[in-house]
């Protein structure tokens, strides 16, 4: 029975699986590239930070809050015109990267901000007292000390992102969510849906375990 199912659906499921990984991977990478520096800037420009800047902080802070309060499914449709204008298409993996990044980058910025804020102020001060420059302190002290918490944050963001890619199926993005929706729901093949759900569960579990192991290994206290 399993063999039968696999001959019928194997290619579709494998393809959808890779699409999901691709969407997650690309948007995660871009979101980190945007979110991490943003998180650092938030920490630096906040009150008492190394480069305190009220205006910058409140603007970025507010934008992040606004985006974070829009559910992804709405963001997806809201951004359709922008996606079309910027990317040229709104379907397939390319079509969904922009909304995924807009959704995830602010989240990562927040998670990174809170991870960085956890670093002991005293250690930062000790390095300041040794005449070490702010940029070096950020790289070699704050980011290093926060690694473990940052990994846990990124794990949470990645899992959220996997969930969002599944929703992106609604606009024909491909991937596991699309498969489950198209066949499981619209063409009534519930088994396909169940298999996709199981794959998603395993994927999320694997991500969380990987994150936990990495974070534990980086943690020394």
């Amino acid at each position: 029975m399993i063999a039968e199912f696999w001959t019928e659906w194997g290619t579709d499921i494998t393809e959808a699986f890779w699409q999901t990984l691709l969407m997650t991977g690309i948007s995660l990478a871009i979101s980190i590239l945007i979110g991490l520096p943003l998180g650092i800037l938030l920490v630096m420009t906040r009150k008492g930070g190394q480069a305190e800047n009220r205006v910058f902080y409140s603007i970025v802070n507010t934008i992040i809050n606004i985006i974070r309060s829009i559910p992804f499914i709405i963001l997806l449709f809201l951004l359709l015109p922008l996606t079309r204008a910027l990317i040229g298409t709104t379907i397939g993996v390319e079509g969904v990267i922009l909304p995924l990044v807009v959704y995830t980058a602010p989240y990562i910025a927040r998670l990174m901000e809170s991870a960085l804020l956890e670093v002991n102020k005293g250690v930062i001060e000790a390095y300041e007292s040794m005449g070490i420059s702010t940029s070096k302190i950020i790289w070699s002290v704050i980011l290093r000390e926060a690694r473990s918490t940052m990994i846990l944050g990124l794990t949470i963001a990645t899992i959220g992102l996997i969930g969002a890619t599944a929703m992106a199926g609604l606009v024909g993005a491909g991937g596991l969510g699309d498969l489950a929706y198209q066949y499981g729901h619209l063409r009534f093949e519930p088994v396909v849906m169940y298999v996709v759900i199981i794959i998603l569960i395993i994927l999320v579990q694997a991500m969380q375990t990987l994150g936990n192991v990495l974070a534990r290994r980086l943690r020394k206290d």
Binding site: G122, E125, S129, M130, R219, D221
Partner: protein, 337 residues
């Protein structure tokens, strides 16, 4: 070496203003250990943090070797900070780096040549007695060992001055002793000037040459540790010195005794304690001294003895006995009953 000139610092949080330092001036000479003592909230941390501009004074100058830090550019300030090491109450080590890396990383970041980093780290870990713990993470060390790593980290910068913000306040008495020993050695053998703040009298007694007393943001008394110990002037200083030497005589006892004579405390330095001055006053004057309590404090340079005695006798005779004691360099204080 370090000179604070008319330093004031006001913190403004919202509408509330806290004057943490009010016109404080002090000078720390090369090679000495200078301690500032004060109760919590007196402004000690703010003071020491002004010495390397971790806290920028609202007013006043902070001079290191004659250079006013408040006038330096950022990059120059960073360079000067290299000459000033600092240790803290809570050690402030990297938790994700080994002991070795904790000492080495600041050197790497300050662009010290590679081979020299290894040499320096090994040298200073040896001085603080932690060469065996090189590859251990701070979480596996005791408080005292963590402070040793922090000291090694500061020393590895090869500073001229070491600032210590309550470095022993989180440690138990035995560990405190061993850290104080280490600081003394750092001062003597490496010739590093030490500026420390503490709320523990013991720290001042054991390693400081000079002491300043802070109270509500002001430096209310200053002098050599012996002078301040034997002749405290400001009420706050007396609180510190006599609180230690209060001898815990119950008030009811004190009252009873002051009805029959005078209750005085005697303070004397080192040599004076060799002379049997109590025996002498019994012989020379018609007074009967009885000792209620006593003790000797070992200071860095000498010892200071304190006695709480009751002098019974004719008022004029007691007065003469007291004058005699004062002539013997014994400080006599009336004890309020």
């Amino acid at each position: 070496m370090i000179e604070l000139k008319n330093v004031s610092k006001t913190f403004t949080t919202g509408k509330k203003k806290v004057e943490a330092l009010k016109d404080v001036s002090l000078k720390i000479n090369k090679g000495e250990i200078y301690g500032v003592i004060g109760f919590s909230g007196a402004g000690k941390s703010t003071l020491i943090r002004c010495a390397n501009l971790l806290e920028r004074p609202t007013e006043g100058e902070v001079c290191i070797d004659g250079v006013d830090l408040t006038k330096l550019k950022k990059s120059q300030l960073r360079k000067t900070r290299g000459k000033i090491g600092m240790i803290f109450q809570h050690f402030n080590l990297l938790t994700t780096a080994t002991v070795y890396e904790n000492v080495a990383r600041p050197l790497k970041l300050s662009k010290v040549p590679k081979h020299e980093i290894k040499e320096r780290v090994d040298k200073y870990l040896k001085i603080v007695g932690l060469e065996e713990k090189k590859h251990v993470y701070p979480a596996q060390l005791s408080g005292g060992q963590k402070q040793r790593v922090a000291i090694a980290r500061a020393l590895a910068q090869e500073p001229e001055v070491l600032l210590s913000d309550e470095a022993t306040s989180a440690l138990d008495p035995n560990t405190t002793s061993s850290i104080l020993e280490l600081l003394l050695r750092v001062n003597k053998e490496l010739g590093i000037t030490i500026f420390l703040i503490t709320h523990e009298l013991d720290v001042i007694q054991r390693i400081c040459d000079r002491v300043g007393v802070m109270h509500h943001g002001e430096l209310v008394e200053e002098g050599s540790v012996i002078d301040v110990f034997t002749k405290p002037e400001h009420p706050q200083t007396r609180k510190f010195v006599f609180d230690e030497a209060n001898f815990q005589v119950p008030d009811s006892v004190k009252k009873g005794l002051s009805a029959t004579g005078r209750l005085v405390s005697l303070t004397f330095i080192g040599e004076a304690s060799n002379e049997p001055f109590l025996a002498a006053i019994t012989k020379k004057f018609d007074v009967v001294p009885s000792i209620l309590a006593g003790g000797i404090d070992q200071l860095k340079a000498s010892s200071v003895g304190k006695l709480l005695i009751h002098l019974q006798g004719d008022a004029a005779e007691v007065e003469r006995a007291i004058s005699y004691l004062e002539a013997q360099h014994v400080t006599v204080e009336e004890v309020a009953s």
